[in-house]
Amino acid sequence: MPFGLIKYALSSSYPGKRFIAARPELKSNYDVVIIGGGGHGLATAYHLARYHGIRNVAVFEKGYIGGGNTGRNTAIIRSNYLTPEGVAFYEESVSLYRQLSQELDYNILYSERGHFTLAHTDSAMRTSRWRAEVNKHLGVDSELVYRDDLARLIPQLNLSEDVRYPILGALYHPPGAVARHDGVAWGYAGRAAELGVEIHQGTTVTDIEVTDGKVTGVVTDRGRVSCGKAVQAVAGASTVIADMAGLKLPIRTIPLQACVSQPHKPILDPIIVSGSLHVYISQSDRGEFVMGGSTDPYPRYQTTSSLDFIEGLMSHVLELLPHLSEVQVMRQWAGMTDMTPDFAPIMGETGVENYYIDAGWGTWGFKATPVCGKRMAEMVATGRVPALIAPFRLSRFENFDQVGEKGAASVGH
């Protein structure tokens, strides 16, 4: 047994300590207010406190920490993106993730499993090669593999040609990983709180005060606070919160559903994705199959599940992995994706001075949590936009300087 657990076995009283303090009263002023207690907001708070000495920070969370998309995604981490800007950004995220358990002193169960993006059409093969070439050129471990490779690497995959969409090959990304999404949020929250960051769960932001083009305060259902700077990191509510600051975002918010099966003895180590079939699937360390699909057909600010979704998803999963047919689904849920026109996120300055945005995370937000926290904090603390995230600025949509990542989105164009 690892040493870390011995104190739990030997103590007469439970040695566990609170990971975040009970909700404090609001102060009248904070140096930085972070709207949104998901992974991104908490990571930003942690980096501000830990690396920039900014500790008079409040995180406002409407519900509970990590309860939005942080706790609703399928926890896949990879850097095999399409544009050089995207690859460099996600590659830094992966390198931060690799040591995040140690950084946070909290096991986020980061497990490299290998990630396969299956291609069923000529055009998917072309896009896979494109991504593989860009990745390799930038030092990311990625390659195009063919049917015979797949037969060896994922023996249980249905490679029959007698199916509707026979598999032609795949983009193979060996470092592709999964982690425990909640753990990431809790790890950041715990360390940030330790350093003095106030985490206010159950606190809804109702307005943002902008005076002379500058953010001056944030109004919540528990009262108003003034702030030097504010950051919004609210995923599916991005457009709503930005609107309070008078900002219009080029974002459409569309639900994305996922589901999980009952636990079974693990038989599937890698992560399998099929863009053409709109499927992604992996098997957790508890033995559950975690499955997701394409975004819902129309925009909505709601996270209700639909029967159509799960019917379609299962029919596609079983085309890939027919031996799962007798497995039973246990739970179905939805998150909300902020889709941008170029399938890349929005990070950085806004038209409002000292108001920073972290949005547009579509289906790729969880995997960017550490890098986003690090770079957003750097920007807030120094007032300078780090080069790594500069390409993702909001103004790129005005001057047609977009970062085209549509080809690298797992599913759901």
Binding site: Q102, Q156, R286, S305, Q328, F397, F400
Partner: protein
């Protein structure tokens, strides 16, 4: 165990014995037995091993509501032994053990429980960094429950739609009454129940001292329901969720019924709750209702000596049933300090069973071997959190628990409803239900049989009226006082093993410790502890967690809230959801002609198209021959998959002018013109041609896989513009053939006498109507492949006839069909782009050198503003033609990168060896300053090697267009 005589055992047929296997051992039961009941009758009370500590587990609910009875049946993992009936030859295995179910080596994990505090995996295994990889491997070795065999076949499952006026979920007393009343009003009623018979609690529970009221009520209601012509009954059918607008999945056998439920009455009942005390998970400890089910449904005497623990009067009914079954009842433990005397408790007292009021269970004592229970320790309650130190021990082999009830309210939750619990006595109410949905019976907190019946009837009447069937006035509902279901105090056992969640092996101190660590929001508590996240989805575990959290934070139960109840309700097989996996494939009218000629098929959107004709081993030669035939003689290709849209109305030209980049207002009738569509950000999304058939009528083509999106986009815009046009999606209504090559006119002439095909009368980009071999056809002189050619569109029903006629007419000239690959090559020679191959999600018209297709002078088209801005900002890349410096050397592939000084400046989008030019040509994105013809570029190929290419002017072939315009 002993079997009881009829009328006990309503489900079993004592005349037929059925043999099956469990853990390799042969057993037999009666027809109608479930696996669990048959095994119980054979004294096999342990069915599985628990998830984490591998503790022995047996019957808890006896109705498939817990995970204790999950077994493996052949290829089917995690099946519920207390739901599934035995059949001859059924091969059942226990799950989650190493060795045998009885002697599980992993049961030793219990000794490590101290090292596994709640969330232990977050607290360790990551120092040093590499160690997690090894721990994860070990954890994956022991994780999971049932086994998925890789050779599991995908069995036959299908789907059916159902519609009805009124749906009633649950055929207990409330549901039966509701169905009857709604049917009486004239509504068509569908009555659904997961059990194999109607009656719900009436089939097993006890409602009075004599034990007759239940059966009397059941017989009466069931007879009326069964005889009613407006009621359709579906038993053994699980409703696995509620989706928007009362859209319900029902699972029966191997079918998923999708029900538009009309007005919905949810009478799904409630879940009896276990008690929390040490070793509360041993086989032999079960819910009171489980003991009653064993007795009444399966005619099984649950044991010899029982202790009954209850928080309400139902436990007394259980005690009476156990006594009637011939068991001794050691005592009834009633948590209430001063239980009111009523009919059933009086009957219990008359039978000299001691009643211990104001007491609680502290600890069950395992039998030798630990696979059952031997005794229970009972202590007086001092407060809601404290029991007296002194205890009395009662020998017993069965403990029947009637802790309390929680509503089976998952459907109500999913529909937006909420359940509120009273703090002290376990009573609850549901509210915030949407329209067209009501709750009746115990799911809504109504328990007294008389009240349940009248509430059910009222709900049935209301639902019928909601569905448009009103009935005569209702009689006044009788209302008797309701008894609260009670709330058993949770007293943390200092030595643990007092399980809150059986699925996840969570003990009460695990919940307490998570609260101590600050995971106090009910959702955080659930996620951190995994309480309620196992297969039974918190039916028994959620309420205790809420109560513990509320106790810790001092908040009320309501304020503490609950976790979200998500679909599916109960296990739902993936194959049920997938059904027959209906993935339509579209074949063109000429498909079988292609097959006859040995075409290799390839997917194109929903369609299958010929990639090329002939054997796979001579692929390149076949394609080259098809190309040569078009360039030198005549070839034809099936273009039926092209998208087709009919735009009609006085504003048709204006509409096209707005949708596409080119100018259409002055396009003459009888002429075709290129169409290029951009989105609002100025990105190319589709192309095709627009044929002006009439002033008010255009026939527009779109790409095969793009047409659905184009159609949607058109409708979307015109909802706003309100132009006077009709937009009709006609893809697939026409079959199309493109006959191309210098001899195409000659071949076509043989079949056509009503269109003058001469170049003067029918020039390039002309459009005509006429007949080909007597088939009415639309003639388009367009040239994607760059030769003289005609695209013929005919009604799809005539496609095969057209194909045959052309083949026959071309026979003499040596006409050769060609496939998609040859077409790709021919157009590449001609420098035409293919949308989505040579463009990507950001390609603008100027990048693709298509400025010629932009009408800058018109006032508007979708994307115009963006295209103008892009034009003024300047290009970031450009699509150019290139040829390899050395056509005999290594050939790059599509999507290989163009590299300059270590940076990516672009990529190859199309590349092929041109048989016509005998060199390797292609299209590639390059930096704007590399776009000048003659510029040398480097392409990085497989293995990292660089290949030289030279930018050349497009097109590669026939630059002045003489061949296509001849």
């Amino acid at each position: 165990m002993e079997r009881l005589s009829a009328p006990m055992g309503s489900r079993i047929d004592r005349t037929e014995r059925v043999s099956f296997r469990f853990e390799g051992q042969q057993y037999s039961g009666y027809r109608g037995d479930t696996i669990a009941s048959a095994l119980y009758a054979n004294d096999v009370t342990m069915l599985s091993r628990s998830f984490k500590y591998h503790r022995p587990r047996g019957v808890l609910s006896m109705c498939g509501q817990d995970s204790n009875t999950m077994v493996q049946i052949g290829n089917k993992p995690n099946r519920l032994a207390d739901r599934i009936a035995i059949e001859a030859g059924l091969d059942v295995m226990g799950q989650n053990y190493w060795g045998s179910l009885e002697k599980d080596r992993l049961a030793a994990l219990r000794y490590f429980a101290r090292f596994m505090p709640v969330g232990f995996y977050y607290k360790a295994f990551y120092k040093p960094r590499w160690s997690w990889r090894l721990w994860a491997k070990l954890i994956r070795r022991v994780a999971g429950l049932g086994v998925v065999a890789l050779d599991t076949p995908h069995g036959y499952y299908d789907k059916q739609y159902l519609f009805t006026d009124v749906t009633v979920i649950g055929a207990g007393p409330a549901g039966l009454a509701a169905a009857l009343e709604a049917a009486e009003a004239g509504a068509k009623v569908l009555l659904v129940d997961e059990n194999i018979e109607l009656g719900g609690a009436l089939t097993y529970a006890r409602f009075d001292g004599a034990g007759e009221a239940g059966e009397r009520t059941r017989a009466d209601l069931v007879a009326k329901v069964s005889a009613h012509e407006c009621i359709r009954v579906m038993t053994d059918t699980a409703c696995t969720g509620w989706y928007a607008d009362n859209w319900l999945p029902l699972i029966k056998d191997n079918r998923l019924y999708k029900l538009r439920a009309g007005s919905l009455v949810v009478a799904s009942g409630c879940y009896e709750q276990p008690l929390i005390f040490q070793n509360n998970d041993l086989p032999g400890i079960m819910l009171g209702s489980a003991a009653q089910r064993l007795i009444r449904l399966y005619g099984i005497k649950p044991g010899n000596r029982a202790v009954v623990a209850t928080a309400n009067q139902d436990g007394y009914g259980v005690a009476l049933d156990l006594l009637d079954a011939g068991m001794e009842v050691a005592c009834v433990v009633d948590v209430r300090p001063d239980p009111p005397e009523e009919e059933m408790s009086a009957a219990v007292m008359r039978r000299h069973v001691p009643i211990l009021a104001g007491a609680t269970l502290r600890e069950a004592v395992p039998s030798a071997g630990g696979l059952g229970v031997r005794a229970v320790k009972i202590a007086r309650l001092e407060s809601a959190t404290k029991a007296a130190r002194r205890y009395d021990s009662f020998a017993c082999d069965v403990i029947a628990m009637s802790g309390s009830y929680v509503p089976a309210a998952a459907m109500l939750h999913q529909a937006g409803g909420r359940v509120s619990f009273a703090a002290d006595n376990g009573s609850f109410s549901v509210h915030d239900l949407p329209a067209h949905l009501s709750a009746a019976g115990s799911v809504g907190g109504t328990n007294a049989l008389e009240n349940v019946l009248s509430e059910g009837a009222a709900a049935g009447r209301a639902a019928a009226s909601d569905a448009g069937f009103s009935s005569a006035g209702a009689s006044a509902a009788p209302s008797i006082a309701e008894e609260a279901p009670g709330a058993w105090p949770i007293i943390i056992h200092p030595k643990g093993k007092d399980f809150v969640d059986f699925d996840e092996d969570l003990q009460s101190h695990d919940i307490e410790n998570a609260l101590t660590e600050g995971y106090q929001h009910i959702q955080l508590l659930k996620r951190f502890t995994t309480n309620g996240m196992g297969p039974s989805q918190g039916r028994h575990a959620t309420l205790p967690a809420i109560r513990l959290a509320a106790r810790r934070t001092g908040a009320g139960l309501d304020e503490t809230g609950s976790t979200t109840s998500r679909p599916p309700i109960g296990p739902l097989t993936m194959a049920h959801l997938a059904g027959r996996s209906f993935e339509p494939v579209r074949y063109t009218a000429m498909h079988y002609r292609h097959v006859e000629r040995g075409a290799r098929k390839m997917p194109a959107g929903a369609w299958m198209r010929p990639e090329y004709y002939g054997a796979a081993h001579s692929r390149a030669d076949n394609i080259a021959a098809e190309v040569v035939s078009v360039r030198e003689n005549v070839g034809m290709i099936d273009v039926s998959t092209l998208g087709g849209l009919e735009i009609r109305g006085p504003d048709a030209a204006e509409f096209l002018n707005r949708m596409y980049t080119f100018a259409y207002l002055k396009q003459p009738v009888g002429r075709a013109r290129y169409v290029l569509m951009t989105d609002e950000s100025g990105v190319i999304v589709d192309d095709g041609v627009a044929c002006r058939m009439h002033d008010d009528h255009f026939y527009v083509t779109a790409t095969t896989s793009g047409v659905d999106g184009v159609y949607r986009t058109m409708l979307w815009y015109n909802v706003q513009w309100r132009l006077k046009v009709d937009i009709t999606h006609v893809s697939g209504s026409y079959a199309g053939v493109n006959i191309a090559g210098p001899n195409s006119r000659e071949v076509l002439q043989k079949l056509c006498d009503d269109v003058d095909l001469s170049p003067e009368a029918f020039p390039y980009m002309g459009v005509r109507r006429g007949t080909v071999a007597g088939i009415p056809a639309l003639f388009l002189r367009v040239g994607f492949v760059g030769e003289l050619g005609y695209e013929l569109h005919v009604p799809a029903s005539q496609g095969e006839a057209l194909w045959d006629a052309l083949m026959e007419a071309g026979n003499e000239a040596g006409i050769q069909p060609f496939g998609v690959e040859a077409q790709r090559l021919l157009r590449l020679e001609k420098g035409h782009i293919i949308i989505s191959q040579d463009t990507d999600g950001l390609t603008t018209p100027h990048e693709a050198d298509m400025g010629w297709a932009i009408a800058n002078k018109k006032p508007f088209y979708v994307g115009m503003r963006s295209v103008a801005i892009q034009d003024s900002v300047g290009l970031k890349r450009k699509l150019v033609g290139f040829e390899l410096a050395d056509s005999t050397g290594k050939k790059p592939k599509e999507c290989h990168l163009v590299i300059r000084s270590g940076s990516i400046t672009g990529r190859v989008t199309s590349i092929a060896h041109s048989p016509t030019l005998n060199k390797v040509i292609g299209l590639a994105y390059v930096a704007p300053d590399q776009a000048e013809p003659g510029t040398e570029i480097d392409i990085k190929i497989d293995g990292g090697e660089m290949v030289k290419a030279v930018v050349v002017k497009l097109p590669f072939y026939d630059p002045d267009g003489a061949r296509q315009e001849m």
